[in-house]
Symmetry: C2
Subunit: 333 residues, 2 copies
């Protein structure tokens, strides 16, 4: 049995999902020889620390009733620097301009020889190269499956399962909110963009400020991460040509349908093209998935198009991608 000690930095929907999943999967983790202890949890108001392992159900309960997990007045940087542990799990909110607070958290973790698993796109969009190089220099692992496609193992698929296969192009639906809006507009005659957006807000599928989703910015972040990770590019957010979905009319969707197509917001990554834009997809094509699903089609040199779809968001779904990253680090030890 090997013990790995982790911290959870950020205790919102994803951070709480991680605590729940680790609590649920204790038997499984023991069965593969992994004793996984959460020794610190940090939120914006402070932290809980317990070197013997935090009682996760108590922490979740306290967060639900008091709004914070905090028992001590220490912040993430203090915890990352001073608490002995192996893996920092960063689930802080994404800021694509500064990359903070994830960027400082992750760099501090590397400098203290701790592995990092993150669900935050910000640090990767702002400073991918520096992060990867700092991890390598400190001889630690850096994993971020949850940043692209939520629960769908796109990065792991490209790295491990398709090993040896040159990847020539990736395209896909990388934002579930946009897919929901376009799917509903296509299926419900006369529904405008505004009608469906209100519905999505009501269902908790869209955020109060939906700009990042509907303008294609969130999908563009994922394009950047895919480009830098799988294609070894060194590109920034500004390098992606972006068109959102706000001007798509019911008439356009109807016209597409009459000709056997659906309209989807598609991100494309290949040598010479980084883009997010509405595109026509033939009905029955592997990319024509509906609802909030995400999908990525990976064009390989030898294996044709391998397409993978699934839920692109959700607390437990995203946490499951984080857990698979933790297990992957455990297996490299």
């Amino acid at each position: 049995m090997k013990t790995l000690r982790i911290s959870i930095i950020g205790f919102g929907s994803v951070g709480q999902g991680v605590a729940r999943v680790i609590s649920m999967k204790q038997d499984y983790l023991q069965s593969i020889g992994l004793d996984l202890k959460v020794v610190a949890i940090v939120d914006s108001k402070g932290c809980e620390i317990d070197a013997k392992g935090i009682n996760l159900n108590n922490a979740l309960e306290r967060k639900a009733t008091t709004g914070t997990v905090a028992l001590l007045d220490k912040d993430s940087i203090y915890v990352i620097k001073n608490i002995e542990h192996d893996i920092v799990v960063d689930t802080t909110p994404t800021n694509i301009e500064t990359g903070e607070p994830g960027l400082s958290n992750i760099l501090t973790a590397f400098e203290h020889k701790r592995h990092v698993v993150t669900s935050s796109k910000g640090p990767l969009v702002v400073d991918h190269k520096r992060l990867v190089e700092t991890a390598r220099k400190n001889n630690v692992e850096f994993r971020y499956e949850a940043t692209v496609g939520g629960a769908i193992p796109i990065l792991n698929l490209a790295r491990d399962a398709l090993a040896g296969n040159k990847i020539e192009r990736i395209e896909g639906i990388l934002n579930g909110t946009c897919n929901f809006i376009l799917s509903r507009m296509a299926e419900q005659e006369g529904y405008t963009y505004e009608d469906v957006l209100s519905e999505a807000l009501g269902l908790g599928i869209a955020e109060t400020d939906p700009t990042s989703d509907v303008e294609g910015y969130d999908a563009a972040c994922k394009v950047v991460i895919l480009a830098n990770t799988i294609f070894n590019m060194n590109v920034k957010f500004e390098d992606v040509a972006i068109t959102g979905i706000t001007r798509i009319t019911p008439e356009a969707l109807k016209l597409a349908a009459d000709h056997g197509y659906v309209i989807k917001l598609i991100g494309v990554v290949r040598e010479g093209e980084l883009s997010v834009a509405p595109k026509l997809v033939p009905k029955g094509h592997p990319l024509s998935v509906r609802g909030t699903l995400n999908v990525a089609s990976i064009q390989t040199q030898l294996a044709g198009h391998i397409t993978v779809s699934g839920p692109g968001a959700g607390s437990l779904e995203t946490a499951s991608a984080i857990l698979s990253d933790i297990i992957s680090i455990y297996r490299t030890q």
Copy 2:
């Protein structure tokens, strides 16, 4: 740089694909630190052996012009026993009654402490448990990604990329020939099963004796392999309830289409159900892929349904799955 020496046992479409792919990917393999040498190739007429590494282009050329790679009159068992090498790549034809010749090849390899990668379903359908236990006892690796879904990394996805996620159910289209026939019948009004079967024969998509495909036997083999591998069952071919596609009429497909459905031959694996049968799938559902594509939808405890599709057959496609298995073994060394 680490050297791994392999033998290719069976030099038909898949075996030749493996030789081609290894020849194509030398630069990539060197870049990951792997010096991969083919030291023996065996076909039904004999073998070529070269401890320094066979010239693969010459071997392929000789096979194309003379019908055999043989320079020596030695068979697979001789090569596996006597030639020093690390990995046996078995690409011999599938026999689901005896499992031979793959079964004896693989067991002999394990007894001589050689890892095995195979594309042959027969040995796994006949004697999965014995193979896995013999590999474990001899402390060698046993990989067979190519047996299910050709190029689609279903087994690797379940084992690595979805690590930590309990898999509750797998269902999918596991035979490309049946998918082609049903897709064409649905799209081409008035086309009967017999019409499309002739077309598929002409295109080389169906085999001269299509029984194994159209009666669902091939898909049932894959159900058995998935059940034994991913669900740790210990089941046989006889445990699968099988209905093929030969009695599906154009009228049934038309009726399904009128109600928004397609008919697909679906294999199902879950606790309490092992089956292959034609089923209604809603249009736009991730399983409703067309043409010769294969697809598997993996229902997970935490990550919802993760669906993966791609080419289920083909020489280079299948060889690419074999190469990813070889690289995976290299990474465990």
